[in-house]
Point group: C2
Chain length 394, copies 2
Amino acid sequence: MRPVYVIGAGMTRFGRSEWPLVDLAAAASLAALHHADLGKIPVNAVVVANMGAGRINRQTAIASALVDRLSLWPAAAEAVENGPASGASAVKVGYQAIASGMADVVLVTGVEMMRAVDGLEATDFVASLSHPEAEYIYGVTLPSLAGLFARLFMERYGVERRHLALVAIKNHDNAMKNPYAHIHQPVTMEGILTSPEAVVNNPPVAEPLHMFDCCPVSDGAAALVLASQDIAAKLGAPRVLVAGIGQATDTHAVHERQDPTDLKAVRLASAAAFDRAGLKPSDIDVAELHDAFTILEIAESEAAGFFKVGQAHKAVERGETKLTGKLPINPSGGLKAKGHPVGATGVAQLVELAWQLRGEAGERQIAKAKTAYACNFGGFGNNVVATVLRKEER
Amino acid sequence: MRPVYVIGAGMTRFGRSEWPLVDLAAAASLAALHHADLGKIPVNAVVVANMGAGRINRQTAIASALVDRLSLWPAAAEAVENGPASGASAVKVGYQAIASGMADVVLVTGVEMMRAVDGLEATDFVASLSHPEAEYIYGVTLPSLAGLFARLFMERYGVERRHLALVAIKNHDNAMKNPYAHIHQPVTMEGILTSPEAVVNNPPVAEPLHMFDCCPVSDGAAALVLASQDIAAKLGAPRVLVAGIGQATDTHAVHERQDPTDLKAVRLASAAAFDRAGLKPSDIDVAELHDAFTILEIAESEAAGFFKVGQAHKAVERGETKLTGKLPINPSGGLKAKGHPVGATGVAQLVELAWQLRGEAGERQIAKAKTAYACNFGGFGNNVVATVLRKEER
């Protein structure tokens, strides 16, 4: 298997976009291509991560459209869809293109415009990933699944709403330092939980989860340029190695799982990624987790192996996951505050981590970060992609 | 690059399906898995080819759903979309997974249910792949592009409507021998062109193309099981090698091409596939071409290198592309008569070719077929995947 490097990373600011879908994708792509500074080296393939363009934006074949917008013909191109894990799945597909020898340089661009169609309810759109016969027809949405999951998880492990609030506060704080984040709004324990106004400021979405436990609905795009060892060496770029990718699926319907609080696909995908990378969770310097809901950051950090089961909320309380902590989690602000344009999210996690490993993360830079981990969580945990990056010394 | 083999192939009958999307995909997958006869060897990854489920069927993350329906957890899974070339793109993605060493066994399933949503016009849905600002808003559809293309191509090379009719007649004849074909209806030159009734039987769609120049709108699914050399050897299956895959993109808007009759992406993708396979067009024993419109079979057969430019219609007239001819084209009936469930088509082309190379094509078997070529044509020729298969003697 040929080694694969991240040689360029870029994104648009997440939030609301007035641009057409393909232009949004092109903007992130150009940022990553400029970052990679390829000169005359051609892009051999383009992989686009997207979940909803066919329905939301009434546009298909968007990978071909992106190639055309960037004049990258005759580069190979296709779009990859894996629900909220579309981004990391697309990175995996690009990775395999280079690892197999079919390509030397691949552009991977994630994009989503969640608000393009009037009257289409984003929550209903995302719920189209749930089990059609066992979940969707009963009105299940992702927030409702997360609420049920949170209730059981909190009861079992003694997690309280203030632990969830601490995750939100941390991620909003981090996002204040990220110019690409959707939400630039610091929040406090008083403002979202303990003051009388909190009842109004932070209304329930799916108990016990309130508004500030849930990610926003965002537009945005993020892009990576991946390259073979030869190309990376020729360009002399910082060597951010894709050290390992793992992926695992689980039952579609959440209630069919033996233990619904056990994020089995996160466990298996992470173990595979660490195994391929030759690293263990304790080797990791910085992580981006899929905190579409605050409870997920806590649960995923345990399933990935960073904390013992039932212990992560205590680590959050001790500040261990802050920018200055032992294991900073979601320095970008996470889905919670950076935003969650579905197809872009998994790519954006790796954009943040590539910047961190290159020392280009500005105010939120983690000192001496050499290793990084990302968890991109598809479905409600039924398709998870874990990625480990490692900076090679030259 | 590790060699990759097709060890199983199966499909549903194309046509109209009353089954839910995922069940349709599962039926084709099970046929391919039974054909591969894996025993206890696990499927490591599932790639689903689909263009429209998010919009037409209101379902996303269908690769995860298929894994669940087949109980293949924790296999990796994602869907691939590349318009009408989604099928061959998905095969390429599966191929790269094995070639890179990330997987040993991959299930690739193409599926489309074109008629699931009342009131959604299939032609408008497919037109969502055209250029939104330069084509779609002006009312361009795929049949209209094909009509314009046909007019220019016919004028330039002396192709007449009877040549197009000969393609339709041949492909309908072949489909009569294919139990999986959507349309089992033999057609004659009198019936569709020369008799007075032909005006009624075969009305214009986009002049000079008439109804019998256009593929039907179909539901259906097709699946392949791909495997590494070790697994293929262990199973002792006939050795159908994926000898070479090539892909190329071209301008999105057709009118931006220097010569709109030159299918440049077919040329480039085919040349790359032949080059990787170490074969030339004259080595090929059987081909499946993307005859969404009859004119495309003629034009693609030239761009792929089987005939000189402007000569293919004469070869059709001489019967060279019939089952008994020098180079049988579309023994399955092609998109024209086998049907065109968009995401399934590129996979189904390779299902037919795998059967042909294994000697399992029944009444339409090409004697001693050892090499095969498929052209899966995305957009209106702006993203093409060419695949060469070769049977290895054991």
